[in-house]
């Protein structure tokens, strides 16, 4: 496996995960028309971190402009369409190392999103968002079902879980910043957006408040989209990808620290620090892992 290909595998998985998360976040409120809805779009754009870019291209934030910006826009490098374009570019780089069926899934995914972007501006958005989720599942399923679990597989895992941890943290952060943050419906929607509703109900039997939901999404060790689960998976993948004896690679160290950080900060401790503060420092550390991986792959060429 070449360094360049390892990098492309990370970004392939990351971009597909990012597209799926965009679809999830859009889906949450699309069908609702409640009072907290308008404010939600603002916090949604804030989550993606592209507020300035959004303001450049749209006059107001509403369902239509948010959907356009996060789904089809050429201008937004993180729109679903652009994510898929980048996923496919990266898949092209590693194409010969993947089974043909997996490349076909990525390529067909890109082609269908592209044709939707051309034809479907504003029509049947929910169906489109479902499609994005389903195709992402298909990709992940293929990876589990037919890809040998060697180095290549672990780079895919690493990319996917780093991205997932980032997005889950941002989703919590956005809901937490919402003006109607005490409304039960808001947190119900958040749980639905990460497909955690049923799992949460089993854990908390009907109690639904910010504290419980935040705790669940940060700490639940067996829920596949929680921060703890994502970081644990990313750590496992990094260990597999970079185990070259001593010294221990930087990304592994950073991920171990993150894992500890999540374990030791209970919900009481987090609330004391402030949820926003906690999540922001989590996001910063999570980003550092990506930089450290990049550094190993591209800056210490002969030793990696």
């Amino acid at each position: 496996m070449l360094n360049r290909q390892a990098d492309s595998l990370i970004w392939l998985a990351r971009m597909i995960e990012r597209a799926e998360n965009n679809a999830r976040m859009l889906e949450v409120y699309y069908a609702e028309s409640t009072e907290e809805k308008e404010a939600y779009w603002e916090s949604l754009i804030a989550v993606t971190g592209d507020v300035a870019l959004f303001r450049q291209h749209y006059d107001q934030i509403d369902a239509l402009s948010a959907f356009d910006f996060l789904s089809f826009s050429d201008k937004n490098p993180n729109s679903i369409y652009q994510c898929l374009r980048q996923a496919r570019e990266n898949a092209l780089v590693v194409r010969e190392t993947l089974p043909n069926e997996i490349y076909e899934v990525v390529n067909a995914f890109y082609l269908v999103v592209r044709s939707c972007a051309e034809k479907l501006t504003g029509k049947a958005p929910l169906e489109f968002l479902h499609l994005v989720k389903k195709r992402s599942f298909l990709f992940q399923g293929m990876i589990e079902a037919i890809l040998p679990q060697g180095k290549g597989w672990s780079f895919l895992q690493l990319g996917r879980y780093l991205e997932r941890a980032d997005k889950t943290a941002r989703i919590i952060d956005a809901a937490n910043a919402h003006p109607y943050k005490e409304k039960e419906n808001l947190w119900l929607r958040v749980l639905l957006s990460v497909s955690a509703y049923e799992a949460y109900q089993r854990e908390w039997c009907g109690r639904m408040g910010p504290r419980e939901v935040i705790d669940f999404l940060i700490h639940q060790p067996d829920f596949p989209r929680s921060l703890r689960f994502s970081i644990a998976q990313a750590l496992e993948a990094a260990q597999k990808a970079f185990k070259n004896g001593l010294p221990i690679a930087e990304p592994i160290k950073l991920l171990e620290q993150l894992d500890q950080y999540l374990r030791f900060n209970t919900i009481d401790e987090i609330e004391r620090q402030g949820v926003h503060f906690f999540l922001q420092s989590f996001l910063r550390e999570n980003n550092k892992v990506g930089f450290a991986v990049n550094k190993i792959l591209f800056h210490s060429r002969d030793s990696a």
Binding site: L2, L92, R95, E96, T97, N100, A108, S303, A304
Partner: protein, 491 residues
């Protein structure tokens, strides 16, 4: 279903002069006659869709834009009976063996030039004559492990060689993708025929590339060096790397140390033994060839000279597939092998010779004129299709720079029915078989179709398509297992 509009002056692959179906096509004719045009059109669309989803595409560059296209796939396969193929198979191997001997000779003793079989200036002043190769011993003396030889049929159905491609012949992936598509779309009709299997040739090619490794090791590292995914033949590279189980690398992934070539990977450096490159000579090594090349590997030729790596095909093979050298290939076969050529060349006129030049210029409307160094069907003149102004313009060019061009009498490419707009209409075709090391020919090869009515240009960059090519066994033997692609004796 089948167009009756047949032109007598061309050989038709499927029908004889009396409009009867040739024996090897009988089953296919019955089968396709019974399908409705609507169903066939559906299947053709399905093929196109599958190719797009699979990314079996090539990129066409046109001015500033690029477009991804599929190679149009024609659903009616071309059939070559075993007896005909055996002659082609032997003739092609003979030809590549002679060309290989020629390359070894001109980069060493140059006996063929000393014996004046081929004019010296034609070889040594050629732009593709590679001075870095002079006196260099290549592994196993193998210059052309993979060659693509273009073959056509005249109005009598006789096979002629039109062109040799000895540098980086492309299109091999389509041979395999077309076969896969046929077995997917028409499993019943494929099973009714005993088709010579093509999968074993791929493993043969993999083993052959490994055998060229200069280092003695149980598992040599073979890589495919690509210019990158913006290259129009990138799918070909991906396909070969995937199927041969070798790494697909770009110049930036390789480095040289101590006259050895290494690959940079996440597990550290790995020595590379064989490089199957799909990069033109000029870009291979910026220290030896074009200094501005970002695609190559600095120090590669030095490692090659030191005998630590094999480059496939060897640099400098371009001098042997030149269109002017082409006319000397039959002489090479006699000179090096002492054999009579089994396949004839298309007659070729060299314009440096005054008499031939006059003949060509006076008969230009019947000639096809090509640049000696051109490829891809660009910059050529097709006499019978050209206007008076074009002819006049070419006469001037030919008088001015006769060495840059060759002329051939208008070739009678054979015709084959192709499914176009709901009907099987006759179109011109050629054939590019692939020869591995002068020892094995992949059975069949790529049949290219000129999809425009009356057109003789089959190049994919200019509106050509392709079809599956079957070598049909007439008697019992082995056949390819549809499930596992291994070879099994037929019952």
């Amino acid at each position: 279903m089948f167009s009756l509009d047949r032109e007598k002056r061309f050989f038709n692959e499927m029908f004889d002069e009396a409009y009867g179906v040739r024996p090897c096509y009988e089953n296919l004719y019955d089968y396709f006659s019974n399908l409705s045009p609507m169903m066939l059109a559906n299947l053709q669309r399905k093929a196109e869709h599958l190719f797009i989803n699979l990314g079996v595409t090539f990129t066409v560059y046109h001015e500033s834009t690029s477009m991804e296209r599929t190679l149009p796939f024609d659903i009616l396969p071309r059939v070559i009976p075993e007896e005909e193929w055996n002659i082609l198979d032997e003739g092609l191997r003979q030809r590549v063996r002679a060309l290989n001997a020629f390359l070894r000779d001109i980069y060493h003793e140059q006996e063929i030039l000393r014996d004046q079989v081929i004019p010296r200036e034609l070889v040594v002043s050629h732009p593709d004559f590679c001075w870095a190769m002079v006196g260099l011993n290549v592994p196993m003396n193998e210059y052309i492990p993979l060659a693509g030889i273009d073959v056509i049929r005249d109005d009598q159905g006789k096979y002629f060689v039109l062109e040799d491609n000895l540098r980086v012949p492309s299109g091999i992936s389509y041979v395999y993708e077309n076969r896969k598509m046929m077995t997917q779309l028409f499993p019943e009709i494929c099973q009714q025929h005993i088709i010579e299997p093509i999968m074993p040739s791929l493993s043969y090619l993999a083993r052959y590339l490994q055998s060229l490794a200069p280092r003695r090791t149980s598992k040599p590292t073979v890589v495919l060096l690509t210019p990158g995914r913006y290259n129009s033949a990138y799918y070909d590279h991906v396909f070969l790397a995937q199927q041969l189980g070798i790494d697909l690398v770009e110049g930036q992934d390789l480095m040289t140390l101590d006259n050895r070539v290494f690959m940079r990977g996440v597990e550290g450096l790995r020595q590379v033994d064989v490089i199957y490159r799909r990069l033109d000579d000029a870009f291979l090594d910026p220290l030896v060839f074009r200094p501005d090349s970002m695609l190559g590997v600095p120090g590669l030729i030095s490692a090659y000279r030191a005998g630590n790596v094999a480059i496939v095909n060897a640099p400098g093979t371009g001098v042997a597939d030149d269109k002017a050298i082409f006319s000397f290939v039959p002489a090479m076969i006699e000179y090096y092998l002492g054999e009579k050529p089994l396949l004839d060349n298309v007659p070729t006129y060299l314009l440096k010779n005054r008499e031939e030049q006059d003949f060509v210029i006076n008969n230009l409307e019947k000639m096809v004129v090509k640049k000696t160094t051109g490829a891809g069907g660009y910059g050529m003149l097709i006499g019978p299709k050209a206007s008076e102004q074009e002819l006049e313009a070419f006469r001037k060019i030919l008088r001015k720079s006769p060495l840059d061009y060759i002329a051939q009498p208008t070739i009678q490419l054979s015709q084959h029915p192709s499914f176009i707009d709901g009907l099987f209409a006759n179109r011109h075709i050629d054939l590019r078989p692939f020869v591995i090391g002068g020892k094995k020919v992949i059975p069949g090869g790529l049949t290219r179709v000129a999809l425009r009515e009356g057109s003789l240009v089959v190049n994919s960059s200019q509106g050509g398509g392709s079809k599956d090519t079957w070598i049909l066994r007439s008697h019992r033997g082995e056949r390819e297992c549809q499930l596992c692609s291994t070879v099994k004796p037929t019952a």
